[in-house]
Symmetry: C2
Amino acid sequence: MKRVMLKVAYDGTNYHGWQIQPNVVTIESVLNETLGALFQEEIKVIGASRTDTGVHALGNIAVFDTSARIPADKISYALNQRLPKDIRIQSSMQVAPDFHPRHQNSRKTYEYKILNCAFPMPVYRLYSHFTYVKLDVEKMRQAASYLVGEHDFKSFCSTKTVVETTVRTIYDICVEKTGDLICIRITGSGFLYNMVRIIAGTLMEAGRGTLAPEAVADILNACDRQKAGPTLPACGLTLIGYEFLE
Amino acid sequence: MKRVMLKVAYDGTNYHGWQIQPNVVTIESVLNETLGALFQEEIKVIGASRTDTGVHALGNIAVFDTSARIPADKISYALNQRLPKDIRIQSSMQVAPDFHPRHQNSRKTYEYKILNCAFPMPVYRLYSHFTYVKLDVEKMRQAASYLVGEHDFKSFCSTKTVVETTVRTIYDICVEKTGDLICIRITGSGFLYNMVRIIAGTLMEAGRGTLAPEAVADILNACDRQKAGPTLPACGLTLIGYEFLE
């Protein structure tokens, strides 16, 4: 028996998110079925991030145990031949038997993309949120700066969230504009439910001038979801990857 | 009666190219039907570039004549409310009654994208060609340099092409790599059938080392399609836009 870690990339457009649910197709269900067919044994992957319906990933993490003899680093090749084109394993490797992707210290990076021009651009429609309201990137950067560090992010998570603590650390947020595409890139110790999409919605309000950048400090202090901006749509969100720390 | 020019962006994935054909959905057929329904008169657009099945565009050009009273610059808004999400008008304006997008002097810019890493990345799969064979971007640039200028591009067009002359001018080719994505950007006076996709295939052979960059000069001189590289798939190609000259 060995434990294998997969780095999983997917286009979330046609999936009901990561987590297995009845009667819908999810990334987790496709991985379990494909691995099961490949190894002829029941496989249950453990995911690092249970991304929502429509969210994309360049490097989500899944681990599973198998008695198969195939070397761990060859599994990516075998699996990619069987997976649908919108899911592709980027690497596979053996890890310690007790390695658990959600209990491990890690840094996670997400990107949220906003297309900001007069009309939507079809080739970006599945991977960005569109707004024609002119956004001031400098104001978005100023607003973002208040979020860096260890804070209680209760204002920036869905009210449905049930967790022991809403304190998280954001190591870095950068807001870059390339052509008409604004990219918000956030690296943190962990993210609460909808946290990146609510941060993106709040920075967008700062960018359009309906929220003063310095008001973000007050929003943090309020610990009240009502104070922050809207939850932007899932399609703009991409899980870039994980870095596991010792 | 006035002549209107549209700048048309589309995701070509679900279309059988630009040009009207029986029994399939094309960009031209959707534009004619949507404009016809909007203005309650028969509309026939003239396209600048008859892009192939699966090719994308940020700014193809269509012109049409209409007796509708709506100001030309408002047509983009009215049209976008009726078009499918994978076609979006970027601008609309009135032009001279004799303006013809294919008879006008213009510079056209295309991009061909190649994803070059170990495994395909799902979010890029509809907009790039994938190869895991490591490409040397510097060699691709050297190979590209032989194509700049006025040349007979007979070696770089489909043998099916029927045109008066295969002489064209390439003003600029740049090959840039961002992350794992190689982008070949070409600006020219005009392009022959499949020309950009064959150039991309030839540069890819230079990048993988199966073709010496300086051999591109011989390929040009040969005026023989057999000498050039393969025609790369349509999905990697995007028509960026037109610049009309006096």
